[in-house]
């Protein structure tokens, strides 16, 4: 018997399992590693009974670059570009979290202007990342790219601002230990002003297009539900946690970079379903715009980079610093042995840990629900695999 015949026989079994209700075996379907809805090389192995998901298991590691090992051989400053590539959709937030941890190790005071600039770019990054997340989420719900392309426009404008500031759009490498690499260029603030002026209208457009859309409601409401207790116990963070109703935002709970000086609110959901996650992200964009407004209005003058020797060796010790990245709690745990490079470099990846409850969220729903759920968690495979 040839292999083809074997496969055929196996397939026959599959066909039966797909259609019969009794005495059948479940069908295993691989979503990914190359699949339109897995946003990268991520593989979800679902066991189906008809269209109902009975088990979901993720297989990851296709993008593993062993960054934590590589970082042990590079100086603290040399590691900043690595953090860009961990979460390539929120490079600024990654830069920031790493720099905060390194600053704690080195005991550096960051000048106030640098803090304000960091907040500005972290919030811009949040807008860009949420635009991507919401756009691809609607795509996973089956829309034909229209909301995605509209939201890409906003993201594009944010990336333009990144480019005029640091020359890069995606992997910015902008933050430095003790501040930021360059001061703001002259043309940035007017661009940002016009961006802030346009955004409310565009958000109103999205809300008109999406929020009352009955099909979107039917697809996302009551899908991928996770309870509040389970969400906390599964260490979920970011919009996924807040959608369950937990008002936990590190910008409020543990303010860094002077977030305590800005007025903003933490939107929380109620049901913990996919639609709430989407709504929370939409609401967070508005809050980010609020913060940006305040940053521009109270932008302090002064140096943007602390005076720090290039070849600084921290004292032996360790530091864990986290920021509220667009995806959740992004932490960096650095251990120093007094050498020029970190002895241990660990990133707490919110994308990976938010997947802890993926199985619980998808079991019992249909295959289409599982995909919507995965889209609503907003994963970045570079961050999962590092």
């Amino acid at each position: 018997m040839t292999t083809a015949d074997d496969t055929r026989l196996a397939m026959q079994g599959t066909i039966e399992a797909l259609t019969t209700g009794d005495g059948s075996e479940p069908v295993v379907v691989n979503l990914g590693p190359q699949h339109p809805s897995t946003h990268g090389v991520f593989r979800l192995k679902v066991t189906l009974d008809g269209e109902i998901v009975r088990d979901a298991e993720m297989r990851i590691g296709y993008l593993h670059r062993s960054m934590e090992k590589l970082a042990e051989e590079r100086t603290y400053t040399q590691n900043i570009p690595f953090t860009d590539r961990i979460d390539y959709l929120a490079a600024m937030s990654n830069n920031l979290a790493y720099c905060l941890a390194a600053e704690e190790l080195l005991g550096v005071e960051v000048p106030p202007r640098a803090d304000a600039i960091r907040v500005m770019f972290a919030e811009l990054q949040r807008i860009a990342s949420h635009a991507m997340a919401n756009g691809t989420f609607i795509n996973d719900c089956g829309a034909w790219h229209t909301p995605l392309f509209h939201m890409f426009r906003d993201r594009e404008r944010v990336l333009d601002m990144f480019e005029m500031t640091c020359g890069a759009r995606l992997t910015t490498n902008y933050m430095r230990i003790g501040g930021v690499a360059f001061d703001l260029p002259e043309e940035l603030l007017p661009t940002l002003e016009s961006f802030l002026a346009d955004m409310p209208e565009r958000i109103a457009d999205y809300e008109a297009l999406l929020l009352e859309n009955e099909i979107l409601h039917a697809r996302a409401r009551g899908v991928g539900v996770i309870s509040l207790e389970m969400a906390i116990n599964s260490s979920l963070s970011g919009p996924v946690l807040r959608a369950t109703g937990v008002p936990w935002d590190l910008r409020k709970a543990n303010p860094y970079c002077g977030y305590e000086h800005y007025e903003f609110d933490v939107p929380v959901g109620e049901q913990g379903d996919c639609f709430d996650r989407f709504l929370v992200r939409m609401a967070e964009v508005k809050q980010s715009l609020r913060i940006l407004r305040q940053v521009i209005d109270h932008l302090p003058d002064g140096p943007w980079l602390a005076d720090l020797p290039l070849h600084a060796r921290p004292e032996p010790g360790e530091a864990y610093q986290r920021v509220e990245s667009p995806r959740g709690e992004l932490g960096f745990y650095l251990v120093s042995d007094g050498g020029p490079a970190p002895y241990r470099f660990h990133c707490r990846p919110p994308s990976l840990i938010n997947l802890s409850a993926l199985k619980e969220m998808s079991i019992g729903g249909t295959l289409a629900d599982a995909i919507v759920t995965l889209g609503s968690i907003d994963i970045v495979v570079g961050e999962i695999d590092r």
């Binding site: 496969t7 409401r221 509040l228 008002p247």
Partner: protein
């Protein structure tokens, strides 16, 4: 002025140039002069088929461009604009690329059944054009069971899709095929019922007869039976696998559905037939519900097929619009919508049509007065039915609104969450709900 008398004796009125049946009669008579009559019927048949193909082929190429351009405009981008003037040659370039691509077949595929579908899918796709009337006597075959023919032919496409999905030996393809079959069987029912309304009311099963009835009574069917029109539109978009009902080739779920394993021009054939079906279904919607080639007398001055094309284009634009706007429904939701909403609603309108037809024929009501009254009544009934359905059919999670609250000063875990949730004042914003 040239003397047209010889020609007009064959053609009838001068404007009957546009009527292909006259041309056919001309050719038939000419061949009958010197050859056997079976040759005449074969030659005219082949010419008619070539004519349809000659129209469809180039139209498909333009349609790809139109669809991509329109969708691009919905999405605030330019769309194809590099190959040829305004990107018009882009579809040609795509076709060349698809033809040059390697044809792959899965090793474990059922070879014969795998190779047949891309060709077979063309048969219903082309046949269906045969009964579409472009003018008073301008269709390839004006069958007196045209409506049934349309349904019968479009129903066979399901088998081809099933063959494609089953033989590919791929789970995505099989899922797509099973979904397509289930959906196609289901949505045929409201489609048949919607057309049955027209058949009952106009008393003919010929497609051209339905148009002529609308011409005679000076009314278009979308005004008389709006719900049938809506149901037919939705059912047709489901049969065409277009968003919001494209579950059988849902990209984000099952990659490309039943044609996942087809590469190169085989995929291209599926794609072309899908587009062609979209066009022909738009044409049938225009014919059945918008009056087809007839437009309140304008058809005497403008060639009828131009009127039909404009109406078809409008419906086609509507199909692109829905595709560019709406997300996709889930399988169970789509089935539920068909069986719980469309079938009862269209059935209701079959009964309504039956009663109204009886009033017109047996009671001898004056159509000029009765038809407007019936139209108003039916439109009101349609609105009522839609509102009733929207109220009754909502699934439980959608009945309460989705709320977003602002945490304010509350930051924390379980305890803070409960405090935020127990706040009685209006949440920051809420959407949906009853």
């Amino acid at each position: 002025m040239t003397d047209f008398t010889g020609l007009t004796s064959v053609l009838g009125a001068w404007y009957d140039f546009r009527d292909l049946n006259n041309l056919q009669r001309l050719i038939t008579e000419w061949i009958a002069d010197w050859g056997p009559d079976w040759l005449a019927s074969i030659i005219t048949g082949v010419l008619g088929a070539l004519g349809v193909l000659g129209v469809i082929g180039p139209t498909l190429l333009i349609l790809i461009w139109v669809e991509r351009k329109v969708i691009a405009r919905f999405q605030q981008r330019y769309g194809p604009n590099r190959v040829g003037p305004r990107g018009l040659l882009q579809p040609v370039a795509d076709a060349v690329k698809l033809i040059l691509k390697e044809q792959l077949a899965p090793r474990a595929a059922d070879k014969l059944i795998f190779f047949l579908p891309p060709v077979l899918i063309f048969v219903p796709g082309i046949l269906i054009w045969g009964v579409l009337p472009f003018g008073p006597r301008m269709s390839v075959a004006d069958l007196n069971v045209g409506v049934l023919f349309l349904l019968a032919v479009s129903g066979t496409a399901v088998l081809v899709i099933f063959m494609a999905g089953w033989s590919s030996n791929n789970k995505y393809a099989l899922f797509g095929a099973m979904r397509a079959v289930a959906m196609s069987i289901s949505y045929e029912v409201p489609m048949v019922l919607a057309l049955l309304t027209l058949v009952v009311f106009s008393g003919t099963m010929s497609v051209n007869g339905i148009v002529e009835w609308q011409q005679q009574e000076d009314v278009i069917f979308i005004l008389l039976f709006p719900l049938s029109a809506i149901a037919f539109f939705f059912a047709a978009s489901a049969e065409l696998n277009r968003t919001p009902a494209d579950i059988s080739e849902a990209e984000s779920e099952i990659v490309a559905g039943y044609h996942t394993e087809y590469s190169g021009m085989r995929f291209g054939l599926f794609y072309a037939v899908e587009l062609g079906n979209t066009l022909v279904v738009s044409g049938f919607i225009a014919t059945f519900f918008l009056g087809g080639w007839w437009l309140w007398g304008l058809d005497q001055w403008v060639p009828s097929w131009i009127i039909l094309l404009i109406k078809t284009g409008a419906v086609y634009f509507l199909l692109i619009w829905t595709r560019g706007t709406l997300p996709r429904l889930r399988v169970d939701q789509l089935m539920g919508f068909c069986w719980k909403a469309l079938v009862p609603a269209t059935l209701l309108f079959v009964v309504v049509a039956f009663v109204q037809r009886t009033l017109l024929i047996s009671e001898g009501w004056d159509t000029t007065i009765a038809l407007p009254i019936m139209a108003v009544f039916n439109i009101a009934l349609t609105l009522g039915a839609i509102m009733l359905f929207a109220r009754v059919s909502r699934p439980a999670p959608l009945r309460r609104p989705a709320r977003i609250r602002m945490a304010g000063a509350q930051i924390g875990g379980l305890r803070a969450a409960r405090e935020v949730a127990s706040r009685t004042e209006e949440p920051q914003f809420q959407v949906g709900g009853d």
